[in-house]
């Protein structure tokens, strides 16, 4: 019998403030109306896209702190990560804040990783206010992992579109808002996929592994959740996940979906959908949070996946390992305003 990967929080940390900021293309997508801020251009008034990504993270952190109605001096720790080498966006963003910082790398699963760690730290009683944040930027990810923007190439049908956006939220020991009740930490899973244009297929087994562990440890079934959502498996990856889960004897029904798959409209020509750290982070901190706050969702299983590759590893013939962390967020049931 495998050891439990799931932590059940006794103190149930509360998400007291959340903020999302996205680029113009994302703003025109399916979640457009839910985001807190839509940038007018991808460069966000900065000289380079890396600086823009950094500024997005800062913007999201400040926004989340403001929405949580606390002072920046109340924040005891920042947990953040992104996709760039040596997670420069997060670290350079943290340079301008006065609170301590822990850099995380879970690729596109970073939002769940930071929330799971943040919730554990708060549950342990060492911290009262922790900020969790992550971001990705299409133009910075593209140049690091793929080709120059202006190169006239064709994208394969399995490819996804890195989301330009950042999300942040403030976790607190006490307060009003959705609560994090459980977290399942994922193992690194590799089923031998080596196509860098097919991240969905590379990460789907990791999602399966973590979801299976979660259902086993927490003794829940998919029907216990109003929404089970993965991060950026995309259209193909989420179909694969449904098949993989079915092989294990668990059926994911209509309450399952994938942020990347839902993100863009059909006309935006993003092939398999959105990807990147910002994908799950911006959907969680906009759409999902609002639905949890207004009572439409009571229990959400948020399980974004990350592909832990680098260009060096893939060029040396390595396959793509994936990881997936899951957290359970429960909404506020009482005091419906409408």
């Amino acid at each position: 019998m495998a050891k439990s990967q799931t932590v059940v929080f006794k103190n149930q940390p509360v998400i007291i403030g959340s903020y999302s900021i996205v680029g113009p293309k994302e703003g025109a997508g399916n979640f457009g109306e839910y985001f807190d801020y839509v940038m007018k251009s991808d460069s966000f008034g900065e000289k380079t896209y890396e600086k823009a990504e950094r500024k997005m993270i800062q913007h999201a952190i400040v926004g989340a702190i403001e929405k949580a109605k606390i002072k920046p001096t109340d924040v005891e720790l920042l947990l953040a990560g992104d996709l760039l080498n040596q997670i420069i966006s997060s670290s350079y963003a943290a340079r301008d804040f006065s609170f301590p910082y822990l850099g995380l790398f879970g690729a596109c699963s970073t939002m769940a990783e930071s929330l799971a760690i943040g919730a554990s730290l708060i549950d342990g009683g060492q911290f009262d206010h922790v900020v969790c944040s992550t971001a990705s930027h299409f133009s910075t990810a593209e140049r690091q992992f793929r080709f120059p923007l202006e190169l006239g190439n064709q994208r394969p049908p399995t490819s996804q579109w890195t989301i330009t956006g950042a999300g942040a939220c403030v976790l607190a020991l006490k307060g009003k808002g959705p609560k994090i009740t459980m977290a399942t930490f994922g193992r690194v899973v590799d089923y031998g996929i080596n196509d860098v244009n097919d991240m969905g297929a590379a990460m789907a087994p990791a999602a399966m592994d973590t979801l299976m562990a979660h259902f086993r440890d927490s003794k829940t079934t998919p029907d216990d959740y109003d929404l089970i959502v993965t991060g950026d498996l995309g259209k193909l990856g989420s179909e694969i996940l449904i098949d993989l889960m079915e092989d294990q004897g668990i059926k994911l029904g209509l309450n399952y979906n994938d942020c990347g798959q839902m993100y863009y409209t059909r006309n935006q020509a993003t092939l398999c959908g959105g990807s990147g750290c910002g994908c799950s982070a911006t959907v969680l901190n906009s759409f999902i949070m609002k639905k949890l706050l207004d009572g439409s969702y009571k229990k959400v299983l948020f399980a974004p996946t990350g592909a832990l590759l680098s260009t060096t590893a893939t060029q040396q013939g390595e396959t793509i390992p994936g990881v997936c962390h899951a957290i359970v967020i429960e909404g506020v049931k009482q005091e419906k305003k409408k």
Binding site: P148, R155, G192
Partner: protein, 148 residues
């Protein structure tokens, strides 16, 4: 061993599930766009020959290439060439205009990292291998030609 089998089965499953590109429309688009670029080249060459009747044919071709390379580079800078490429695929990659695009686009992309370490170093990341293969194969062909 077990894991190897599992991965193999998974890779086969994924391969069967991957959406396929439709070859005929892609081929058609690359054919006519590629053809059009060649027609454009021929047109430029004819015009040069018409305007400068004393020019040697070889020199006229060189100028034609210069004009095509400039046009592709210019369109890359304007952000148009990647759109053509998205539509035409191989049709706009194979002619010399594609080569021009593959050098201009990283040059633009990495100018923020500085002229030398950014632009000059990265300029040949995509075109570099093509040049290397071109030179090496020409050496081999040259050697074969020498001994025949």
């Amino acid at each position: 061993m077990d894991e190897k089998k599992r991965n193999e089965a998974y890779n086969n499953y994924v391969k069967a599930k991957i959406p396929k590109t439709k070859p005929w429309p892609s081929l058609f688009n690359s054919f006519w766009v590629g053809g059009l670029i060649c027609v454009l080249g021929q047109g430029i060459n004819d015009l040069i020959m018409l305007w400068f009747p004393n020019m040697a044919e070889q020199t006229a071709w060189t100028y034609t290439l210069v004009v095509l390379i400039f046009l592709a580079s210019f369109l890359t800078g304007l952000g148009v060439y990647d759109r053509i490429g998205k539509f035409a695929g191989g049709g706009s990659i194979v002619p010399i205009t594609g080569f021009s695009n593959s050098i201009t686009s990283p040059a633009l992309e990495f100018k923020n990292e500085g002229i030398i370490y950014g632009m000059c170093v990265k300029m040949f990341t995509i075109a570099g291998p093509v040049i290397v293969v071109g030179i090496i194969s020409s050496i081999i062909v040259g050697l074969i030609y020498l001994f025949i």
